[in-house]
């Protein structure tokens, strides 16, 4: 069981100052190595003494992994760039404000100062049964404690649950999927670039991980093409309290609109499944239609098709329906009769 202690279990600490050195260390230690970015997820695991890696590779000293680089075809964000830097970067605020909004809604200012974009997309799920150290599927066991008649599953998945019903907690992930970002990985076989949506995996593929990184792999940068720069964006995060909380659900959309007709759109939600979902069916359905409330309602209904609520999270279905509706049709202001 999780017993929070002040002293972490012993491990060997490595602090490389180049990507090449980090890769060597990761390959050398394989599955025994733990990659630490900002440390916000890592220290929880280590202080709870649930994860006990033999080697921790701290990436904070690698300059190559930090900063935002602007090119003619978009931007490249180093994986160790803090969320605060992402939020405050003028080009991101001007052209890719969807990401700035998503990143700004993550946690608290202090956490955003320390947390990194790479860590935010790669962090582990917050399911408390799993984080509590219980031997659930995700921890290598044979049961999901949340998916039981009495399990506390208010925050858990309504879509694509496969034995495990944990959800991905990232706020920046859906924004990056909507912006058609590419994730740059360094693997033992060389550099690999994957679409943002393909970086994340569900329990049907691997029940113990939320992303495709294998031992020895490293996320080095996130590239955002200029395709969606300055598009019409929408980001909304719903949480129990408006500071320092993980999303119950969030939605991110990027639309190219001509007149009021949706020419093209990318739409993603997170908090509904173990991976952020790109809603392709919805995108196809609304393309060529007016960006109105009626289209939004149709899109919302389509978005939740196939959703299966657990004992305590049925509210997520109308919530997701409405978030998708607002992402497409906009937010209707409250109308006062008098």
């Amino acid at each position: 069981m999780a017993v929070i202690r002040d002293v972490m279990p012993a491990f060997e600490l490595f602090q490389p100052n180049s990507i090449a050195d980090a890769q060597k260390l990761l390959q050398q230690h394989g599955a025994d190595a733990w990659i630490m970015a900002g440390g916000l997820d890592s220290f929880d695991w280590l202080k709870d003494r649930i994860k006990r890696p033999k080697a921790v590779v701290d990436l904070s000293g690698i300059g190559e992994l930090k900063g935002v680089r602007v090119s003619g075809d978009g931007i490249e964000i180093g994986a160790m760039t803090t969320l605060t830097e992402v939020v405050k970067h003028p080009v991101i605020r001007e052209k890719y404000s969807l990401l700035a909004e998503g990143a700004e809604l993550a946690a608290s200012p202090q956490i955003r100062n320390q947390g990194t974009i790479g860590g935010n997309v790669s962090q582990d799920t917050r399911c408390w049964y799993y984080r509590g150290g219980w031997p659930c599927y995700r921890a290598g066991g044979n049961i999901c404690y949340a998916d039981t008649p009495t399990g506390r599953n208010r925050e858990h998945a309504i879509l694509h649950a496969e034995r495990c019903v944990a959800v991905n907690p990232s706020d920046s992930a859906p924004a990056l999927i909507a912006l058609d970002a590419k994730f740059v990985l360094r693997t033992p076989k060389g550099e690999r670039i994957v679409d943002a949506e393909d970086y994340f995996i569900g329990p049907d593929i691997d029940i113990t991980r939320l992303h495709i990184l294998k031992p020895g792999d490293l996320l080095t940068a996130i590239r955002i093409p200029s395709t969606w720069a300055g598009a019409r964006f929408y980001f909304e995060k719903v949480r129990d309290r408006n500071v320092w909380d993980f999303a119950l659900l969030n939605v991110a959309s990027a639309m190219h609109v001509s007149g009021n007709t949706i020419e093209s759109i990318r739409l993603s939600v997170n908090g509904a499944a173990a991976r952020p979902l790109r809603l392709r069916a919805v995108e196809n359905a609304v393309r060529g239609k007016p960006a109105t409330t009626a289209t939004g309602e149709m899109a919302g209904r389509l978005a939740v098709q196939g959703a299966v609520p657990l004992q305590f999270n049925a509210y997520k279905i109308p919530l997701m329906r409405n978030l998708v509706k607002r992402a497409i049709g906009g937010v209707e202001e409250a109308k006062w009769a008098s």
Binding site: M1, W134, P135, I143, C144, Y145, I201, I205
Partner: protein, 285 residues
């Protein structure tokens, strides 16, 4: 539980109990290597050391004139069952163990569907074999044991008369069938209950159907049966492709075997074939 410790993985349940959660996955490699080792040793033995097969008496050549050229052995229903079961078994092994050795894909759905097909086919087989075939043909009898003893004594260079020709199924087949029954039914029996842990069309999920210890033992038994089947399937495929067994393999495809093969290896008294060519009741399974 002591003997299980080295071959199982354990965890602490929310109630503080130490419970097994599944087999240790290195057993996959142990089973595969054991199967491979058997294949290598057997093929070397057959190639360099084995003596020519000898049976008591001579083949009844007079029968050749009255028997059909192709001796019916497996009915269409029996063959369909065999190949459906084989397809389900391969699917089960691939979907169970490839993810454990690093090949990631959506395996659970394929696994429980293949398990369902296997279960239904086994139920069919039990009913079919009990009421339409010679149920006892696949179980060892006294003659099998006497002949086995003769073969062992001769193998060790001790005096013994040559063994008789086989009944429809040699003792090795019968023992293999017994091993498949033990492992297969263990996997199926536990697998049916494990369907309560995943979302299927059959049951409402109920992971609290049993205690954590019972569930754990069920997962361990399922895993042990599964790795056992790795070795058994390897051995089965190996014998199926061995040149001297090809007549038997072909009979599982086409339903019959050559008359010469039948007369050389089988005892017409123990596996009766109608002279007209129509199979007797003990045939066609």
């Amino acid at each position: 539980m002591g003997i299980l410790k080295p071959i199982t993985e354990w965890a602490t349940s929310p109630w503080g109990q130490n419970v097994p959660i599944h087999i240790a996955w290195f057993l996959i490699w142990v089973a595969a290597l054991a199967g491979l080792l058997f294949l290598i040793v057997h093929s070397i033995y057959v190639r360099y050391f084995a003596k020519r097969e000898e049976f008591a008496g001579s083949a009844p050549t007079t029968l050749a004139a009255v028997l059909p050229k192709q001796i019916p052995r497996h009915s269409l229903a029996a063959r369909l069952f065999h190949w459906i079961m084989a397809g389900a078994m391969f699917t089960l092994l691939v979907t169970a163990f490839l993810p454990k050795v690093g090949v990631r894909f959506d395996w659970v759905t394929y696994h429980w569907i293949a398990g369902t097909v296997l279960t239904v086919s086994i139920i069919f087989h039990i009913i079919h074999a009990s009421f339409w075939l010679d149920f006892w043909a696949i179980w060892p009898d006294k003659a099998d044991l006497v002949d086995a003893l003769r073969r062992v004594r001769r193998f060790m260079g001790r005096p013994a008369p040559p063994p008789r020709r086989f009944a429809k199924y040699p003792l090795e087949n019968k023992l293999y069938h017994g091993a498949i029954i033990a492992t297969g039914l263990s996997a199926i029996g536990t697998g049916v209950f494990m369907l309560f842990r995943v979302r299927t069309i059959f049951f409402t999920r109920n992971p609290y159907l049993f205690s954590d210890m019972t569930w754990g033992m069920m997962y361990v038994l399922h895993g042990l049966a599964g790795v056992g089947l790795i070795g058994l399937v390897m051995v089965h495929v190996y014998f199926a492709v061995r040149p001297e067994k090809l007549d038997i393999t072909k009979s599982m495809i086409f339903g019959s075997m050559r008359r010469e093969f039948y007369l050389t290896h089988y005892d017409p008294q123990r596996w009766r074939v109608e002279a007209s060519g129509s199979p007797s009741r003990s045939e066609g399974d």
